[in-house]
Amino acid sequence: MAAEGFFFQAFVYLAAAVVSVPLAKRAGLGSVLGYLIAGVVIGPFAMGLVGEEGSDVMHFAEFGVVMMLFLVGLELEPDRLWRLRGALLGLGGLQVTGTAALALLAALATGLTWQQGLAVGLTLAMSSTAIVLQTLDERGLMKTPAGESAFAVLLFQDLAVIPILAVFPLLAPHGAAVTAHEAAGHATTWVDGLPAWAQTLAVLAAVAAVVVSGRFLVRPAFRAIARTRLREIFTAAALLLVIAIALLMTKVGLSPALGTFLAGVVLATSEYRHELVGDIEPFKGLLLGLFFISVGASIDFHLLAARPGLVVALVAGVMVAKAAVLLGLGTLFRLGPDQNLLTAAALCQVGEFAFVLFAQAAQAGVLPAQLTATLIAVVALSMALTPLALLLVDRALLPRLAVAHAPARAPDTVDEHHPVIIAGFGRFGHIVGRLLKANGVGTTVLDVDADRVELLRKMGLKVFYGDASRHELLHAAGADKARLLVLALDSPERTLELVATARKHFPQLVILARAEDRTDASELMAAGVQHVYRDTLDTSLRMGVDALRLLGHRGYHAHRAARTFRRHDEESVRQIGAVRGDRAAYINLARERIADLERILLADLARGPELHDDGWDVTTLREDVRQATAARAGADGVAAAGGPPHPGRV
């Protein structure tokens, strides 16, 4: 029965998502709004398919936020942070403090304590990373100044969540935390009943534990797991890591999101980053969707109906205040008027962090539950209004500004993603990578040999651990923005798999594939790969050239002979690939290879490669001249010998 209930719930949630998200996207509203609307529709105030148990689902779905923060942390490479430091601290820092200060003033005016005002202000300062990044990305605005500054602000907010969460217990009135916990019936934590300073100490200790173990325990553990080359165990380990940290953080009374975010930051420089992103991403996507659905379902429409004026005023006030702060800062930081408006419109909502922070604040006893319920409705509405705000700016305000509104396309070199992805960095791929690097071409490298990845990273190369045939990993490596995909794997089967994946999901990628032998090569050609490189062809030919030279053949002749032979051989690979046709005719691959070899040898016998260098051959010319001379001697030698009948040799 319980199982049936679970299946019904799962059915309702998934169906709501599957129906409403594509509709919302089609309508240009973005997927987050789609989930929210789905939640409203199935929630207690519309169809009533999910009711009280919605809050349980919400708890479960909060794990999506936890995972999102882990991924956000993983994206925070130190050098990227450093590059953005100006916008990050200036724009981001002032946005958070400015917005919080405004909200604090408003809160004090309405009679809240300064602690409550601060908690509300800091929370409302957050914008929605999920909505903004997705919206900007969908509109192709990420590379514009507006996109860049929005990203910097969001990044600062993500970072600011850590101290904000740590500070909440200190904001609570004495003893309030404990009562709040008991009132909410929360699981007991290890720090219950401790004084506020001890709680803060415990938080710091837990944070230190996450950082230290992330650096010294997790990476070796992942290396050992990666060596087993079992994909599902790696996925399990990634999930285990996230869950373990979430558990630890809950036990010290902290947000699990904070802990996993930290773990993500610690692992951001690790070679397993892309693999972790690829593993967690699908879980995160689903759970986050679930989270947004439950937020939609939990919007208290009774409250809205009871005090519509208050809620509407709050939503408008918050959004206008946030936009005003951003507009002021944009002017201060010399953003163009159009970019400034876009940034302000993009960031004027309150983000999903608010749900987490409000929950935390209520739990810590900082804010009364009724206040947070109202504010959560405000947050959800402001999120829902973001696409509309952007639409307003886009359609109504920008045209009036009469500024050229063509987002400047940044050159490729500025792009965070490298133009080339190399899968497999063994004895084949590393030569390609080194040649490209020596010529200033950035490459993102994926490899499944944990020891090699470790070594190469020690040497300062940008190498990531991961099985490149998974499209999530390719995506994480920037396959949608890269230009070339170099496949230098030593397994023909996996190469073919990868070709299929890449051609399906990233059709713009030009593929250069390594093939083991001519059989592979013709299969790759059949799979649509234009650039195929047989493992040993060039080396064998070079060896052949040297053999010829050691036997006394001239270097230039041997060189040309090899080039000619190579053309002949490539042609025969193409032809044999076309002839072979029915693969079932061969019992196994080995037989097939023998058959191919037989064909090629027969072709050589019938018509070996011819070296066309008659231009330098004077035999016929000399014969001509001799005959002409003899004729002239006979006929009294009037005319000079005719022009050289053979070109070149004059």
Binding site: V545, H553, R554, G555, Y556, H557, A558, H559, R560, D613, W616, D617, V618, L621, R622, V625, R626, T629, A640, A641, G643, P644, P647, G648, R649, V650
Partner: protein, 207 residues
């Protein structure tokens, strides 16, 4: 004593009759370096620093090749284009090759009579080599009248041997400083009258 560098360029040396004999005649001579371009750079990937070092280490450059389409084989052009860099071989302050001697040694299928203003080919070999002459001039080098073996198709073995001996004698004279450089620059074909250009060894030593 001058050091002589022979740049040998023949894409089908294995089939050569005349150039091989010429090259053999000077290979191993003291003070003479024979550098086989097509053997060294079968892929046309000329190593510029190595070539420039070779040029610096020699005083006389002999460019030996068959005449193809009234010009050099392709690799010689590639060599010129890459090695004779601006700022090194020519241009402001470029002195690397200044005062050195350039001798083209060319074999041609046509007879000398055909390489005359009224002949079948309308120009003399020296005229046809004008681009090389001007190249040498621009690099501050002294361009000598070319050493030409004419009518290669009809040459008997003994005649080729005689040409090879003249070639060897020319390079030895260049090495020993006994070739009259001034007169050699004025001539039309260097090996038309070698005796007139080469001083007795004692005379040159006495200078």
């Amino acid at each position: 004593m001058s050091r002589v560098l022979v740049l040998l360029a023949h894409p089908a040396f294995e089939k050569s009759r005349v150039n091989r004999r010429l090259a053999e005649a000077v290979t191993g001579l003291p003070g003479v370096t024979v550098h086989d371009l097509y053997e060294a750079y079968p892929d046309f990937d000329v190593e510029v620093p190595r070539e420039q070092e070779l040029l610096l280490a020699h005083d006389v450059l002999v460019v030996q090749h068959p005449l193809y389409w009234y010009s050099t084989p392709a690799l010689v052009k590639q060599w010129e284009d890459l090695v004779l860099e601006h700022g090194w071989a020519y241009g402001t302050g470029a002195t690397a090759l200044r005062g050195k001697v350039w001798l083209s040694a060319v074999s041609s299928g046509g007879r000398e009579a055909a390489y005359q203003p009224d002949g079948h080919n309308r120009f003399t070999i020296r005229q046809l080599l004008a681009p090389l002459e001007q190249t040498a001039r621009l690099c501050g080098m002294r361009f000598l009248a070319p050493f030409v073996v004419h009518g290669t198709h009809l040459l008997a073995d003994s005649e080729i041997a005689a040409h090879a001996a003249s070639y060897r004698r020319t390079l030895e004279a260049l090495r020993d400083g006994s070739l009259d450089i001034e007169a050699a620059q004025q001539a039309s074909r260097l090996n038309a009258d070698l005796d007139a250009l080469i001083r007795p060894l004692e005379a040159s030593r006495g200078r």
